[in-house]
Symmetry: C2
Subunit: 362 residues, 2 copies
């Protein structure tokens, strides 16, 4: 029965991935919401904690919903899941389009499920909040992993801001952990601040790279290489093998230029062929080594604590700024003060004092 | 007469540098304040605009004062100076203690004064806000430059926060520009966020480095190399010459790994011997090239505008946060929520919502 439930969960998930456009129509949305309302929260939570992927999927949909009713339910679900969360290894994966992220995650994920590990794949894609597209929405992607009993794949949630998407992803992690998933992979494309956001919610950060991209390879993207615990040069096969090895050497040299990491881990560059399943086991071993090292030296726990604090303060500060800057009178005065600065009539500090005086007036 | 005034200004400045400890006693402070109160603001401004260094020095002291009366005067002075500001080239210089910053600035500054340029040297030193020390306070430093008619050297102002120190430095820049100084050098030691602050108030950022510091040289300090428009390997003389050249090559290679700058300028690494006055003219030429390039392509003006906006928003946001976090009830609740997160009883987002609800209550 449980197995059957799980199976239908997987199928349901595929369905969701298959038909995102049809679900985006308002009538489909309406039907979906009606259906969700029928199941009591207690039942959703019960199923989720038993590892039922249909229920997990529904719980995530509730979390992603912006309706007031769902937000209240979402809170209940999260509170019930919290005591069962925190037990997974969270891996962030980034790379430019074309680096082979899906193929890599499929290969890596299938290795894990073959070891009876439970793997969840989520995505943070701020571009989808604008285009309403989704980096995991393509039905042809990860088509083997999606069929695995122990895998759960969720397309990226949409939202009107990166902060909103990040909040939903963080909460989805909690749900997946409560459902028993031991490895959570969070994929992102290198757009804007999404990589920093994913780095701030994962234990291990993997940067997927391509060799032979010419001088593009030389350009160490601002801050991304610095965040990486592991750089993987993908597509190290066929004609590309030599270039991949060269890139690996080059990145290993570049990594030496950075100061040692707080985790005591020395970031490495390796190469692999996700398509041919080569080098994937070695990557898993490196991640395992990292987890052992950081659990032993206390960095793993300390980092999760500081990530929690980061998201707490980040959420507060974003809202404080929003509350202030979105006031119509502040908007108007800010424009005026910026012009005055431009004309050399005031300093930024004097202008700030005038704007801040408005906070007291409210 | 004007010349005499200027001369006494320079001497007064030396006196200030000579005896900072005696001036720190409360009675000396009292006498100084009494003396300052005697001169009307209009006279201070008049002298300052004529290039009188005594008056400039007094105006800066008023700006640095935290007394309510002085703050009102400071505002008047700044407003009078603003129309005459903005015309200098602002150069930020950073480097670890021992890199030879003073010797370099002395050599560079004297080259400028020999060309009849007017040079002001300021310092941002957040450590002095704690130790009450000052990186320009040492009387043996820049002892030749300090005697120059066209040079003005001001030890770093103290303050209880980097934000406070930065505000005072930004305002001092305005005063120096109004007094006719054409090149403003802002020195900082590599402590905490001071380099970012100086980078955000200058047109050109110079990183002074030492060769032969072993693996320390390898470590590209997080973010600093990235900010530099020019890396200068100092002490390229005697036994150190070979190591300096090697370091220069290495840094030039490392600089290639960074993406192109928005300014269209390609950062370079050069070597010099400030002690022997070697390579200083070449550095001046590079800076001149940079200024020509960025004035032509519009980056110079665009950057100053964005710096103004940065300091405006930065000041507002710091104060918004301070107003919130310093409330005793918020402090207490924050502690409580952090503990609840630790115990897995709540999420950072739920905790943030509870804290933010307090803003509405006030």
């Amino acid at each position: 029965m449980a197995a059957k439930k799980k199976k239908s969960g997987a199928l349901n998930e595929i369905g969701g991935v298959d038909a995102p456009s049809s679900l985006n129509t308002s009538s489909a949305k309406h039907i979906q919401q009606k259906r969700l309302q029928k199941i009591p929260v207690s039942e959703i939570v019960k199923g989720l904690l038993e590892g039922d992927k249909v229920m997990l999927s529904r719980a995530i949909t509730i979390i992603e919903s912006s309706s007031h009713k769902h937000q209240k339910q979402a809170q209940e679900i999260i509170e019930a899941c919290l005591p069962h969360s925190n037990k997974s290894v969270r891996i962030g994966i980034t790379g430019v389009p074309g680096a082979g992220k899906s193929t890599f995650i499929e290969s890596f994920g299938k290795m894990l499920t073959a070891m009876n590990h439970m793997v969840a794949v989520l995505a943070v894609d701020p571009s989808s909040s604008i285009s309403k597209g989704s980096i995991l929405g393509d039905k042809t992607r990860m088509e083997e992993l999606v069929k695995e009993e122990n895998a759960f794949i969720r397309p990226s949630s949409s939202g009107d801001s990166l902060g909103g998407v990040a909040k939903k992803t963080r909460e989805t992690i909690i749900l997946c952990e409560a459902a028993g998933f031991e490895t959570i992979i969070i994929e992102t494309v290198g757009v804007g601040q999404s990589e920093t956001a994913v780095h701030s919610m994962t234990d291990f950060f993997l940067l997927l790279k391509l060799a032979g991209a010419g001088d593009e390879l030389q350009g160490m993207k601002r801050g991304i290489v610095e965040m990486a615990d592991l750089i993987v040069i993908n597509k190290a096969d066929g004609d590309n093998l030599k270039a991949a090895r060269l890139a690996r050497t080059e990145f290993n040299r570049a990594l030496h230029l950075y100061p040692p990491k707080e985790s005591d881990w020395t970031p490495k560059a390796v190469s692999c062929s996700a398509m041919k399943n080569e080098g994937i086991t070695e990557i898993y071993e490196l991640i395992t080594n990292y987890i052992s090292l950081t659990k032993e030296n206390g960095f793993f726990e300390a980092r999760r604590r500081s990530q929690n604090k980061f998201w707490l303060l980040q959420t507060i500060e974003n809202q404080l700024k929003k509350n202030f800057y979105e006031r119509p009178d502040v908007k108007k005065e800010l424009e005026k003060q910026l012009q005055a600065i431009e004309k050399n009539e005031t300093t930024p500090f004097e202008a700030a004092a005038r704007l801040l005086a408005m906070q007291q007036d409210s």
